[in-house]
């Protein structure tokens, strides 16, 4: 073992984490061929990595924990926002180019709220409106058929005359297109997130669940199933997701429903969907037993018992 071996052993750690540059790596590899002590250290460290790798699957975060955590966070944000509701910008603004704070003499920030009409899957988008005002222009171009609401003065500096405002501009929107179209899908996702409009959420989930062929649609349906307050929307989401009940994330969402949804009809739809697509799975049987042990619905308990029996 020569005087540099301590350094080389530092480098072994870095080598196994792929953190060495090409030159150092080459030198180390050369040294490992010549030095038994460092070679042993290398083998021992590699053995440690294999031991750690054996246990890697169990380090995954359970899917239902992610769903629970997201839901709890969304609720906490809602509570914060209710205290200062003006702060909330319309849910639609993200779909389109957003308003930005403009670094001009007068800063005016506006959110664009778009009313979405999801009727026969046909709607047409009006161009988004970016409002800004510089020292030269007279006034921002507010759309002729738009209305402004929730206008707030955020900052006003009397010495320079600079003003910063925020508010919402609403204007009607119509858009025609197929569900495969990205814009249509984004609009439907927005409609699905529109907390104030359960009717439009129901329409959106209906349309989306007809053709849940795309992962983004699947994700939107899972979110609707887990987060939506409206049982009609959640039921529709189960419908749309049931053909995928053998996929891990959809299974996790259904398990979440079984454990948390107050509506027995939705729980029943979830258990039926799960059992229809997952035959004789002992691991699922165990999880279902766990998830439904406090369920007061006899149908669900019977179904789970039958399923558990079928796996034995």
């Amino acid at each position: 073992m020569n005087v540099n071996c301590k350094d080389y052993q530092h480098q072994i750690t870095l080598l196994l984490y792929n953190e060495l540059d090409e030159r150092t790596r080459g030198e180390l590899e050369l040294h490992l061929r010549e030095c038994g002590v460092c070679k042993d250290a290398f083998e021992s460290e590699r053995a440690m990595h294999s031991v750690l790798a054996e246990d890697t699957p169990s380090w995954d975060v359970p899917s239902d924990l992610l769903l629970e955590s997201r839901k709890a966070l969304a609720d906490a944000l809602d509570r914060m926002e209710n205290k200062r509701s003006w702060w909330r910008m319309p849910a639609f603004s993200v779909v389109f180019t957003p308003m930005r704070l403009l670094e001009s003499a007068a800063l005016i920030t506006m959110g664009l709220a778009l009313g979405v009409y999801v009727s026969n899957q046909q709607a047409r988008v009006a161009p988004p409106v970016a409002l800004n005002s510089s020292a030269n222009s007279q006034s921002p171009a507010i759309p002729r058929n738009g209305t402004i609401s929730n206008l707030q003065v955020i900052n006003a500096d009397p010495s320079t005359g600079q003003v910063e405002l925020a508010g919402e501009v609403s204007q009607p929107l119509r858009f025609h297109g197929k569900i495969e179209d990205d814009t249509v899908r984004q609009l439907l996702f927005s409609a699905l997130r529109d907390a104030n409009n359960p009717g439009s959420r129901l329409k959106a989930v209906e349309v989306l669940s007809q053709k849940p062929t795309d992962e983004s649609i699947e994700e939107a349906l899972i979110n609707a199933l887990v987060y939506d307050d409206d049982p009609g929307v959640r039921m529709r989401a189960v419908e749309g997701l049931k053909t995928f009940a053998n996929e891990q994330h959809v299974r996790a969402a259904f398990m979440h429903t079984l454990q948390n949804d107050e509506n027995a009809g939705i729980r029943i739809a979830a258990i039926d969907a799960l059992l229809a697509r997952n035959a004789k799975d002992p691991e699922l049987a165990q999880k279902l037993t766990e998830a439904t042990k406090k369920d007061d619905n006899p149908y669900i308990r019977t179904k789970v018992l039958q399923f558990v029996g079928s796996t034995k």
Partner: protein, 206 residues
Amino acid sequence: MEAILKRTAQRVHESEDEKLLIEQAQNGDREAFEQLVRRHDRDILRLAFHMLGNREEAREVFQETFLKAYRSLGRFRFESSFYTWIYRIATNVSLDHLRKRQTLKEEISYESDTEMHPDRPALKDTLAATTYYSNPERRLYGKEVGQKIQDALKTLSEKERLVFELRHYQGLRLKMIGEIMGSTEETAKNYLFRATQKLRAYLTNV
């Protein structure tokens, strides 16, 4: 889900797009904030879950991290990446929780030592039993190896544990870990070296 997760991972470094989202969120767009959250929340939850070892505290750390981010996003100045920034918050919150738990344990063992509260040792056991390794999910996998690794990880100091977690399980580069810790890549390297030496001794010789 796998595909969705991969897509999420790919998006992590799409920084231009992310910059726009951050600006929207800074201007009060909650939807943009939630999109930012979705890009990183799985990573943050995994970090919290590994560091704290149980669901309840993992959920608390997760929530505290993103609420802190939400409140202080206005002060984010693009000096680091958002990813680094949110990880820095999450590691601080995680370490706080670990320290709080340590204090709690010390209080409990003190009380049980005084034999004033014969029921307290049971509470101490409960705390220990809520760790990750007693979760039902874990029992499905090789318990012995898992237990051994858990024991090995317990031999690490707080910082060694953190750096090892970030490099080994979260897959972050040492340079970024240095930034997250408000320190240097060199420091992160040293912690990683010390951590792997301890783990190596424990896992390959015991």
